[in-house]
């Protein structure tokens, strides 16, 4: 069987696996967020932390809770990194330097997991487990919580009434509440992420991923040399790294490392894990708004964009246009032999289409146009299917924009799921959309304008620009993958990319919650003959088109100067 045929079969298996779990996982998530009861362990957590789980939160309170939680998350992680030298299992590593500790703390809190450090030479086991991996869980849970809150805003069907404080109805609520952030956070972690991760971690160990607390064990190799075999709680962290679309590797080389991703089947399993939740959330969305077809429309747009993007990226890698790939005869630089080129491209597309940023091969060495397709995936705003939660709310914002554009074209008042899109709503949607391009392009522009920051590029010319553009696009979109040649562990890059990650995560969350808040307040408009149906292929096609056109218009000039210039010259 040829490599390419095998690659197509691998994609077919992946699509089938996601297809099979779309319903059960989506339905399970729907149940999780509409359940009126609390599990015993959840009640225990609420009691221990003084949270009233039955109090609904309006959007400003929900947003403030997200921000407060984000702030203490950054602070605690920063503290753990700084005092590493005094913690157990530190492997002899000293505290992390302030700029790097800030960058890393922000990076993990924002679900970016950009890594300006090298895991095996910077972080001890305790910081990995109790610092970084905790944020792997919680940042993913925050993303899903916000998405669910946004869906609740759209789903509100009853007119606002005075909310009886403490009434059980408040989790779904009767007023303009969006739910309770602490409950959503806890349920996501306890009911969804933890059980799946526990199973996934054991599957990964069965494949060869390690789970121990050893330091480096130095062995004498066959030829009489020395080699340090590293240890660590890798499998437990690997599972949530993929499932939570985090991407922060235990090791510098992430999922290319044989201890993180030992075989070709663990590779496909990891790709499945990182796609599972983002692709199933639309089902939960459809159930929550009371119309499964709405979820199906959203997931179809995600799937079509994802498959198209993967096909394009994989084709560029298989054709291996470019000088070095032609000399080699294949785009194998930076890829593992057990995965091969097609399954490496598949991982690369999946990681950039979601907000994961884990890598099993090194994007910097991809063909120019293969690399450009990965950049394009991130620029798409990571909506196909996007990060855990962030993909769904990103897509819903685009759906609002699409309805608005369609409304302008046919001269009707735009509405989505019975909610009118007025100037307030469209303003929040527009601000949501603009924030990441502003951060990515402005950051890139400033970096290449500064001589010291230009020197961080490993490659020269157009490829050097691609490295910087990739870095800021990745940070602003909370992806975390890199054209890793660039030396970003400098005070300037750590600070600037840290800011890009922070603003790229929190501002869109606040805008989208504000939008949801104003949807929640509205009385739904009845469906009439003049209502634009948002579950038909026509709307799905338009939504996909709007997503691609908006991105193309925003980013084409930058892409033309970087990867396109490099790819077209020869």
């Amino acid at each position: 069987m040829s490599s390419n045929v095998a690659g197509v079969l691998a994609v077919a298996l992946l699509v089938a696996a996601i297809w099979v779990t779309y319903r059960p996982l989506g339905d399970y998530m729907h149940r999780t967020y509409t359940d009126q009861r609390h599990l015993r362990v959840e009640r225990w957590i609420y009691r221990a932390t003084g949270v009233n789980p039955d109090a609904g939160q309006r959007w400003p309170v929900y947003a403030r809770s997200v921000l407060a939680f984000s702030l203490v998350s950054v602070l605690l992680l920063y503290l753990l990194e700084r005092i590493q030298a005094h913690l157990p299992w530190n492997l002899g590593f000293s505290g992390v330097a302030p700029p790097l500790a800030w960058n890393t703390a922000v990076s993990f809190m924002t679900n970016t997991n950009w890594q300006a450090y090298s895991g095996e030479s910077t972080m001890g086991h305790l910081v990995q487990m109790a610092g970084l991996a905790v944020q792997n869980f919680l940042s993913a849970a925050v993303g899903i919580a916000v998405a669910i809150a946004v869906v609740r805003g759209l789903a509100r069907r009853r007119a606002p009434v005075a909310s009886g404080a403490g009434s059980r109805d408040d989790v779904m609520g009767t007023g303009d509440e969006l739910g309770n952030f602490w409950v959503d956070l806890t349920r996501t972690t306890i009911r969804i992420l933890l059980p799946i991760c526990a199973v996934a971690a054991i599957v990964l160990i069965a494949g060869g991923a390690i789970q121990n607390l050893h330091g480096n064990r130095v062995v004498d190799t066959l030829t009489g040399g020395h080699q340090a075999v590293t240890g660590g709680p890798v499998a437990s962290q690997e599972a949530i790294k993929e499932l939570g679309t985090n991407g922060g590797g235990f090791y510098n080389v992430n999922s290319a490392h044989p201890f993180e991703n030992p075989t070709s089947w663990t590779n496909l399993f990891e790709i499945y894990l990182l796609l599972a939740i983002p692709f199933s959330l639309p089902r939960a969305f459809g159930r929550m708004v009371g119309d499964r077809r709405q979820g199906l429309a959203i997931v179809s747009v995600m799937a079509v964009l994802a498959i198209a993007s993967f096909a394009v990226g994989a084709a560029f890698q298989a054709v291996h246009h470019g000088t070095v790939p032609t000399a080699v005869g294949a785009a194998t630089e930076g890829t593992e032999s057990r995965f091969g080129v097609p399954n490496s491209s598949l991982f690369a597309s999946a990681t950039t289409l979601t907000s994961t940023g884990a890598v099993n091969s090194f994007h910097d060495s991809y063909t120019s146009l293969g690399g450009a397709s990965l950049l394009f995936n991130m620029m798409l705003g990571e909506i196909a299917p996007g990060g855990t939660g962030s993909g769904l709310y990103g897509m819903l914002v685009l759906a609002v924009i699409t309805v608005f554009v369609a409304g302008l074209m046919i001269g009707r008042t735009p509405e989505y799921l019975g909610k009118r899109i007025g100037s307030r709503e469209i303003r929040f949607a527009a601000m949501y959309f603009l924030i990441t391009p502003i951060l990515a392009l402005l950051g890139t522009g400033v970096a290449v304008g500064l001589p010291g920051e230009r020197a961080s590029m490993l490659n020269s010319g157009a490829h050097g620009l691609s490295e910087v553009l990739y870095a800021f696009t990745s940070a602003a979109n909370n992806n975390g993958s890199a054209f890793a040649g660039i030396s970003v562990n400098t005070t300037w890059y750590n600070t600037a990319l840290g800011l890009a990650m922070l603003l790229g995560r929190l501002l869109p969350m606040v805008f989208v919650l504000a939008m949801a808040g104003s949807f929640a307040r509205q009385h739904p408009v009845p469906v009439t003959a003049g209502t634009l149906p948002t579950h038909r292929p026509q709307f799905a096609g338009m939504l996909g088109g709007i997503a691609v056109i908006l991105v193309a218009l925003t980013f084409f000039p930058a892409l033309a100067l970087g990867p396109l210039a490099e790819g077209i010259h020869a």
């Binding site: 069987m1 095998a6 691998a10 298996l13 003084g50 949270v51 403030r64 203490v72 109790a130 991996a133 905790v134 869980f137 919680l138 602490w182 972690t189 933890l194 526990a198 054991i202 160990i205 069965a206 494949g207 060869g208 789970q211 121990n212 050893h214 062995v219 066959l222 040399g225 080699q227 340090a228 075999v229 590293t230 499998a235 437990s236 510098n252 080389v253 290319a256 044989p258 030992p262 075989t263 089947w265 000088t323 070095v324 000399a327 785009a331 194998t332 630089e333 930076g334 890829t335 593992e336 032999s337 057990r338 091969g340 399954n343 890598v359 091969s361 991809y366 490659n459 490829h463 490099e566």
Partner: protein
Amino acid sequence: MFAHLPGWVRGHLAALRILLVFTVVVGLAYPLFILAIAQLPGLHDRAEGSLVADAKGRTVGSSLIGQSFTDAHGDPIAGYFQSRPSAAGDGYDPTSTSASNLGPEDVVDSFDDPATKDSDESRQSLLTQVCTRSHEIGVFDGVDGARPYCTASGVGAVLAVYHAKPGYQGPVARVISVNEQCPTRPFLTTYDGVKVSCRTLADDVAAGRQVLVRGDAPAHPAVPADAVTASGSGLDPQISAAYADLQTARVARARGLSVARVRTLVKEHTSGRALGFLGEPVVNVLNLNRALDALASARQ
């Protein structure tokens, strides 16, 4: 307990308490629970790192982590199958894992300027690295190491072409082979009727028009792709079946074994695609070399 504090402080305290509770639940209880499960027979050896021993029972590494099979000078040992090139530290260093991160159009070498004593600015381009490896493997294994865009001596075949007028206009005035430092004879005698010269430190090769010389090497060279490219991890424990096949004759000769015997061992250490279609068929180099050593000690 915190009722006397302002609301925003109480909000943050609640956030902190939730965070601390989850730090215990998912940051300690969860990984330690998985660690406990990992002690089960069948999982334990893998969780420990798939360590393997030589014929004498001495642990020599992990079957998942590749090794260099070179002598003290860094030269390949003929009796061992060779791993792929590695960008992890000095090669296969698990404490410094890395890919090369060099781009597809990285074709111009940098040379060290002896005038600046403090640092070594020399850096081989990715193209030259590929060409050099192919050339050396060709010599080592007795096959043709030629590749497209490579010179016969094993560097990137790249010219800087200077024109008489700006904007690459007018006749060609001067041509430099950018990856061949003087004194040497360039791989090409003339280009467009102009003599090709070797490169000196004074040359500004970025000012010239870059011309890549494809040469007449076959599109599918004898030395396989994985043999001339660094892996993503720098720890790739495996090589392609094609690269193992290429090395079989050399290893058999060095060890005084029949080619058929070595080929059988290679086959035993080849794993096909998982489920028949995931990934690529590969040969585990450390396990294969251990088997060769075990065979040798059994014969003694």
